[in-house]
Symmetry: C2
Subunit: 373 residues, 2 copies
DNA sequence: CTGTTAGCGCATTCAG
DNA sequence: CTGAATGCGCTAACAG
């Protein structure tokens, strides 16, 4: 059935030339409706599918899209890819996956990008959280190879469309939520400050503090590593502080670090949220199943994936023109400037935060503890 | 630099024919070493990369490999894919990703497989945990299209190479570990029994019980859904049992269900591992960060991915011949039968299991509890 | 050793 | 409206 059958076979079976078959298949207007129907019927019968390789060769265009992903073990990327895959499969394109794993670092990534560019096997590139490899992307841009970047580590690159989460807004919301609960001494466990994302979240944290008129205490701002161990280490430092200086709430810039905070708390015999309130960032799938379930900021990964791939597809078909606004409504003003799209996060309220009594003083805290004990 | 430059340009620049250039590029023996070097130099200078599309067309072979993945949100798949991607990138092949997400169920998956087969755009298919879609795979097999299946839900399919984890052995090890700790009343929270994996793990559980001469108590064997909610529900049933009938340990057939058990325990005011010991299965990345860290059976996803993709690559290049034994050592006897490779799991001992005192009786248990309370 | 030629499967002219 | 011819970039077979 699926034995190598080509356009000539169809042409023979339909008593027409290959040209006509080709026209019929590509919905060209100038073809006899009767003939077209007959051809399509035979195509259906024979289960004929045009060779995408040949089409690629003759048309010079590819139906393949490169997607560059970081270590897939990061659960967040999965969510994003899910949406990307869904949309690509609904189109006539396919995804070619390139992963920058632990072994092939910066240098190898450059090679991958060179190959993408040189072979032109794919029609465009979606780079997802490429980390340091982002710098190689300008090279593609120079050759007017369509690229869309989903990132949070690097400052935006001139000329490259960029999709990201509103990290500053998310951090602001997290901190404001804690303030609304009555917390005044709120610690911030940061990611590595060399990353843009860490700075953005720090800004959001400061925004909320400033808005509430709470002075920023540098002793409560610690730099972690986005990983559980770093979160744990920072939390230990915070919990070692004298009671009066100790934070009543912690904003961890990643869920993984929040996990570390939770383990540190239990090591100190402290209970969350009774003794310490905690908010994370990311909303990893497992965060909802922690004990207690982690209150956190959810990143809009699905939406980011969707925006990114839709933008890329549009870029491939309409080079150098960017639609502003939602993709569905294409009658938007076109722009020649690479868009920067920032998607809103959302606060997931769960069980790691506790409302503080009106007046928070050392004595009233101990009093309450004694009553419950 | 990377402007469309082809083999003719190189031929012109090197003052040779395209045939010679092609020969030089493909390391054919019959080409003047001097000429070859000159050509290679020019190729390097010009940054020429042969069009894989054209090569694909003329050679009839593809350098693309289809990889069919289930909902990527499942963290386990990421680990597997990581290894697959690493190996593919080291080869001359690329990965084309197809995902069977929530939206496109069984029917759409059939379409995907039809397309893979019809276009022959890719040279082979690696199907990872395809679930119910596995049945479509026989179609590929019939057309002698190389397929390798990584699965645990379905019984093996005749003629299709199969890679899986030793689920029975893993469950046996988990249960034996609990028995070794002195537990006698060990519950088993199963996955859906329509899946092979659930039956395999149940067998392993029974094996260990039988070996230790412990009678199987049907009241302690409950069917879950592999998800946290199911684990929680089953655990509630178990914890509602009268003290004497209540299990002292629970073997959950998935980590996610183990999370559900943990939350159920805390709802019942029970502490893990003090009151109940718990072992999971899978070793999700987050399991090590649970409070307490979950003792579980680790699935060899990396190894599974590696075996699977190496087998597929070999199948593509040596159709209908399967190497038996490790890939590295290729001088193995070849077989015409599709191999079934089962990879060993490993027990990750962490903090959710407790050694029971020598004699386990209702009274001594309460005595100990009273002493610690 | 090397140049020439004939396709791979298709879309796209250019004539009818 | 349609058939025939050209060529996409490359490899392979065949002559030199």
């Amino acid at each position: 059935m699926a034995e190598k059958i080509n356009i000539q076979d169809i042409a023979r079976l339909a008593n027409v030339s290959t040209g006509t078959v080709s026209r019929a298949l590509n919905n060209k207007p100038d073809v006899n409706p009767e003939t077209r129907e007959r051809i399509l019927r035979i195509v259906e019968e024979q289960g004929y599918v045009p060779s995408s390789t040949a089409i690629g060769l003759v048309s010079g265009r590819s139906r393949l899209i490169s997607v560059l992903v970081p270590a897939l073990t990061w659960p967040l990327v999965s969510e994003l890819m899910l949406k990307v895959a869904e949309i690509v499969e609904a189109s006539s394109y396919e995804i070619v996956l390139y992963s920058i794993s632990s072994s092939n670092h910066l240098r190898d990534c450059g090679k991958v990008i060179d190959r993408i560019l040189a072979t032109r096997m794919t029609a465009g590139l979606l780079a997802i959280f490429p980390g340091q490899s982002a710098q190689h992307l300008t090279q593609l841009q120079r050759h007017s190879f369509p690229v869309v970047l989903v990132d949070d580590q690097n400052p935006p690159i001139e000329g490259i469309p960029w999709i990201g989460a509103d990290n500053r807004g998310g951090a602001y919301e997290a901190t404001r939520y804690l303030i609304g609960l009555g917390h005044q001494r709120i610690a911030c466990i940061q990611g590595p400050m060399k990353y843009k994302v860490s700075n953005d979240r720090y800004q959001g944290y400061k925004d909320a503090l400033q808005e509430a008129g709470i002075p920023l205490d540098p002793a409560l701002v610690l730099e972690g590593d986005f990983m559980p161990v770093g979160g744990n280490k920072c939390a230990r430092t915070l919990l070692t502080l004298p009671k009066a200086e100790r934070p009543t709430a912690i904003f961890a810039q990643s869920d993984l670090m929040a996990y570390g905070v939770m383990s540190a708390a239990s090591e100190f015999g402290l209970s969350i949220p009774k003794d310490i309130s905690l908010v994370g960032f990311d909303d990893n799938p497992s965060s909802a199943h922690m004990q207690p379930a982690l209150t956190t900021i959810q990143q809009p990964f699905g939406a980011m994936g969707q925006q990114a791939i839709e933008l890329l597809l549009q870029l491939i078909e309409q080079p150098r023109l960017y639609y502003q606004g939602p993709y569905e409504n294409k009658r938007q003003i076109l722009s020649e400037h690479a868009p920067r799209i920032q998607l809103p996060t959302s606060l997931m309220i769960r069980d790691t935060c506790r409302k503080l009594p009106k007046r928070v003083s050392h004595t009233s805290y101990r009093h309450k503890q004694a009553m419950s004990g």
